[in-house]
Structures are given as C-alpha cells and as structure tokens.
Point group: C2
Chain length 403, copies 2
Amino acid sequence: MSTEASWLELADDDPFGIHNLPYCAFGQDRFRWTGVRIGDRILNLAAAEGRGLLDAGGAFLGQSNLNRFMSAGRPVWARVRERLTELLGSGRHREAVEPLLLSVGDVRLELPFEVADYVDFYSSLEHATNLGRLFRPDAEALLPNWRHLPVGYHGRAGTVVVSGTDVPRPSGQRKAPDEPAPAYGPSARLDIEAEVGFVVGVPSDGPVPIDDFRAHVFGAVLVNDWSARDLQAWEYVPLGPFLGKSFRTSISPWVVPLDALDAARAPGPEQQPPVLPYLRAADHHGYEIDIEVRWNGTTVSRPPFAGMYWTPAQQLAHLTVNGAWARTGDLYASGTVSGPEPDQTGSFIERTWNGARPIQLDDGTTRTFLLDGDTVAITATAPGPDGSRIGFGEVAGTVTKPE
Amino acid sequence: MSTEASWLELADDDPFGIHNLPYCAFGQDRFRWTGVRIGDRILNLAAAEGRGLLDAGGAFLGQSNLNRFMSAGRPVWARVRERLTELLGSGRHREAVEPLLLSVGDVRLELPFEVADYVDFYSSLEHATNLGRLFRPDAEALLPNWRHLPVGYHGRAGTVVVSGTDVPRPSGQRKAPDEPAPAYGPSARLDIEAEVGFVVGVPSDGPVPIDDFRAHVFGAVLVNDWSARDLQAWEYVPLGPFLGKSFRTSISPWVVPLDALDAARAPGPEQQPPVLPYLRAADHHGYEIDIEVRWNGTTVSRPPFAGMYWTPAQQLAHLTVNGAWARTGDLYASGTVSGPEPDQTGSFIERTWNGARPIQLDDGTTRTFLLDGDTVAITATAPGPDGSRIGFGEVAGTVTKPE
C-alpha cells in the first residue's frame, strides 16, 4: 500500500503517493527550480542532484524547467524515478531528504516545460459527433476521414499557460447566421475543452513508429483548451480553428510520468474500419483516466478518457508520419474528452447542448457559457498499483473581463 | 546611387546594396554568428560589436541568431542600421571593417532566427478563389468570412528550415474521391506556395493595434510553404491543413529590415465591404515585392505581392486581437501570392490547374507536380530608394526521395 511505501505521512488514498511522483517547475522569489511532488510537498531536484542524492547527469542543475530532463531519455527517466522512489520511500534517506522538501502551498507553480509545438487532436468519437451536429447541422456529423486518421491541427504554443493563470475574455469577430455582417466584440460563448496532453521528451528526426511511443513521450498533463465558440464558428472554414482557441490554453503544473500510468493502461478501442499499418500498435492501449470538471465548485461533468477512439501512440505516429520532426517540449492534446452521456461531456457547448439546456450550479445560479469571474477546475485521477490512485492535480483558470 | 554610397565595389543594380543590409545567421566550422550582408559579403556583427564599431547593447555578442537583436526594438534597430550604413558606406571605416567581412560563399547560412509560433495566412484573393474552385468545386469559391478577416492558421514552427535544406517527399494518407478508402504512401501531388513572411521582433502582452505594426515587426523573409495536396485534401476538413504542410517550411536566410522596404510601400487594396475598425490602418499599405519562381532553373511564375488583399499590419492586428501574445521570433506568412494571370500564380496546383495544364521546362521536360530531384528557387526584389533594388535573395529546396 502506498502508505507503507513512504516515510512521509500520507493517507492511503493520497493521489500524490509514492507511485505517482509527478514533476514540476516552481519558483520562490526570483529563483526557479524543478521539483517532484509527494503528498503536499515538493522535493527540490536541483538541490537533490547538487548534493549528490540523485544521479541525473546534470539534468536538473541550473534548470528552470523540465526540458533538459525530458530530453535525457527513458533510461535516465527510469533511473531517476527508481532513485526517487528510494529517497522518498525508504526511511533511511529521511535525514538527507527532508531539508530539501517544500510545501506546495509555499511555492509558485510555473509552466513545467517550455512548449515547442502544440498540437490539438479531436479524438473522442462522441465529441466529434456532437460538435459536428452543433457546427454543421445540415451535414453528416462525422466526416469521412475521422475513422481513418486522428484529425488534429496546430495550436499556439506561445499562449500555453500554467494552471491558475487568469483567462481574459477574448474579443474578435463573430456573426450569427441571421446577421448580414460580422461584428467585433467580446466572445459571448466562451467555453472549455477538458483534455489530456502528452509531452515529447526525446526528439525525433523523422517519423516516430507507433511502437516507439514510450521511447519519446515523457508524461502527461491536463489541458483546458479554452474555446470562444462564436469566434470559432465564423472563422474556422476552411483552415480550421485559430483565434477561437489561440488566446490561452491552460495546463496542469504536474507532469505525470508515463511510468506512473502503467496500471492505468487499458485496451485501445476496436477501430472499424481497420486502420492503416502505421497506426497499428503491437500493444494497442489507451489509459483509464477519470476526469472531473468543476464550474465554480460544482461538478458538472466526469469525462472518461478510457473511451477515446485514438490513442496517444497513434496520435504521435500520425503527426510525424510525414517526416515532421518532434522536439523536446512538443505538447499534443487528446482533444475534448467526452463520453456518451451528457454529464460525461468535456465542453459546455455539449453539456448544455449549445445553450439549450442550462446547468444549475450549487449556488443556485444557472449557466450555459462562461461568465466573467467564473472559475473552471479540471482534475483527474488514474488507477495506480496496489489500489492506489495517481493524481493529475488540477488545471484551473478564472475568466476575467476583456482586456 | 547605390554605387556611390558604399566603398565596396558594387554594381548599380546589386540587390544587396547599401540601402538593403539584410541580416542573417551564419556558421563556420562549429561557430555561429549573426551578420549583415552587403554585395556578396557578410559583416560579422559580433566581431563588429566586440571591437566597438557598433553600439547594439550586446545584441550580437555571443548570439547565434537574430532573436536578441530583434527583441531590442525599433530605436536599437534604427541606430544599428544608421551605423551600419556609415560603416559600410563611408570609406573612412574601410580599414576597420574590411577584416570583418566574409564572402557569402565561404559560410554556412543558418536559420536566421528561432521561430516561436508560425502562422500562415491566406491573403491573396486570386489564390483563395483558385483553391476554392479546385478543392471545393461544388461550392462558392470564396467563403463568406474571407473579405471580413485575414483567414489563417497555425503551422509547425519546429519544421521551419533555412533555404538549401532538402525536402524529403512526405508520406501519409491520401484518398482519391473515387476510391473507397485511403491508402498510405508518398505524396503524388507535392507542391509549393510562394509567400512573404513577416517576423515579430518586439513581443506584445496583448493585442497589437494595427498602427503599431512597425513597432513590433522587424523584417521580412521569403517563404516556401511546401504542400502535399493529396494529404491536405483528405485531412483538412474540418480542422484545417496539418500533415499536408507540416513536413517542412523553407525560409530565405536574409531578414530584410522593414526600413529597407520603405520605398516599396504601396497603397493597400480597396477593401469591400469595409473592414471592422480594428483592421483599419491610418496608413493602409502593402509592399511592392516582385517574386519569381524557378523550377529547375526555368522561371514559371512571377507572383506580385503588391496585389495582396490583406496587409501585414492587418494580419498582425488580427492574429492578436483576441489577446494572444506575440513573441520574438513569431513568423507569419502572407499565404500564397498569386496574381490574376496564370503565370502569376504562387503554387503549381494553380499554375497547372490541378495538373490539367502541364508546364514545359527549359530542358524540354514537362511538369505538373514536383518530381524527386526537382529544385524550386523563389527569389524576390523590391524597389529601393534612388532607383535601387532591394533583394530578398532566395529560398530554395530540392525534393528528395521519401525517407
């Protein structure tokens, strides 16, 4: 049990137990470091490496984010993880380690890695079907390519922000179908997209074969791909979403190592028609990750990641099959996670069916799209070994007035 | 005349005369520096600054690309440009400067700046109309949003490469309309897009008002947005181009400073219907840039940049109007430059009308789309002061076999 595996006093169900050990970047005053979380504490990794407690080849020394460590590759990741498990597990290191622990509440959590390119997929069958119905009511909801390839597009890397960063309501052009011309103004249909993102550690100078997924991908984060539906609807044909998405994309501060998700591996969905060979994995699997979406504290949805049609390994194989390089810090998100039930949808446009079915919050107010001052927090956990839970923490943001 | 303005022996019509002075990054052995070009020579800027010939606040010292200088802002750009004009113009600096000059042919030209985010617009009325006809033959060619906003999307920053880099033919999924399912294989319809790209120097933490264009944008480059039309046609609905574009995007090694293009300013096109206020500039202007596309040495097209419907200032104002930040190194390209005549089109899908009208090259062979071994070189010049020409150099690439 996780309690027994650490000398720290952790509850059995602590989502940041010894089997998780997610990485972060954090700051105090004007300094920045990388860290690893256990319970409600963070071990300063630069300090641990500097004192000879960790052999990471300098991956943490003088680093303000995880990029260098992520680029070091799986053997280094595995060695560091094993050593951290020992340092934070076995009581005999307590004396050396304890002075290097900080309380999560005492530090400023930063963007854990520098984002290279950001790609957003569209891999939930339910979400793609729902959005197709809402955006293109007169056409077939699911487009012909959808079951053959993981549809995706590039987003804006420069506006990926860490959880806790405010989200000013974006302005731009929007046009209702019955209006003759577009008008400029603040989005009136501001929405979220609850997603899981995967982060590339080891770069590739060509296609990443599907079975090499674990050699390249370092870990996972939660993503909120904030979306201005009115801006998006007017702009997105024919070149895809642009300003409707690019104002901000929030991610959780904790990068959960892929190794921490081994117990969460779940068989990948059956795919019909069969996919092309470059998308066929020897071990076709997704992950069981249970997401929860809270709107001003009220849980409004529980999207199940396990049901995603396209797996993270397929997404990476697809996005590089044309010879596009992957770089350390490339972030690719799953697309909105939506299950078949209304309270399993990962966006509010689905949850309220385009505003037609308002949601009641615990404070008695109702919502369709986001109001200024609203806070959305997305959390998730996954099954860990020995009955433990692996926590992703949260990605949260508050909508503020237009700038 | 430009000859008289420099102590270097330059022909009157040298496109790299004293009025141009484009910046670059270059390498010799394992070192990398930044430089400025005059004639067929490059002045090593780190050396010039290091010896006290230039006061750039350290913008060139120890730098392997232009990002630091580009972030320094217009007053520094102007001061450095003025000083370079003096150093390379007046003969009294010859003794100090001459030892710091290298021949262009003796160095390795590198990517001149680190690309932050890459955005590609779609701002030629003729190109958008042509592509609409070819990709959506049963619908209105120009979509309803096109005259209201500069349509664009994010591309892949990590695969932007400098001129001279080979372009391996990309593989991926493509499906002909009469085939029941997609197949995997090398693109059979590999194309180019001749564009002009603008580079952000000074970042913004919110919208860039249209009249602030010159305070943020450092200069311009040529762009070849290589495009696999078969991959693109199958993937691009509904989220836009992805693998059909992301394998490589080539740029010229010379960043032409905006100041060098003052004489090339041309009145912006009349826009009907009138655009929204945030897209209205006090000085609505584009640039007269004459582009030439050579296919294995044969000039096949001369796209005129002056005819673009949306201006670079409008593009930047639009891309940040939702509050998206601009970063140093952000590259945004115009979209394919096409004029009204067939021999003014900036892509081969237009030039050959989807392959129906093959082009004859000077060697007697014909082409529709690119063959392995083909080289495309895009060059451009613009009017400079006193009858001079401002050269952009070239962006060239050779298609190689699939990797």
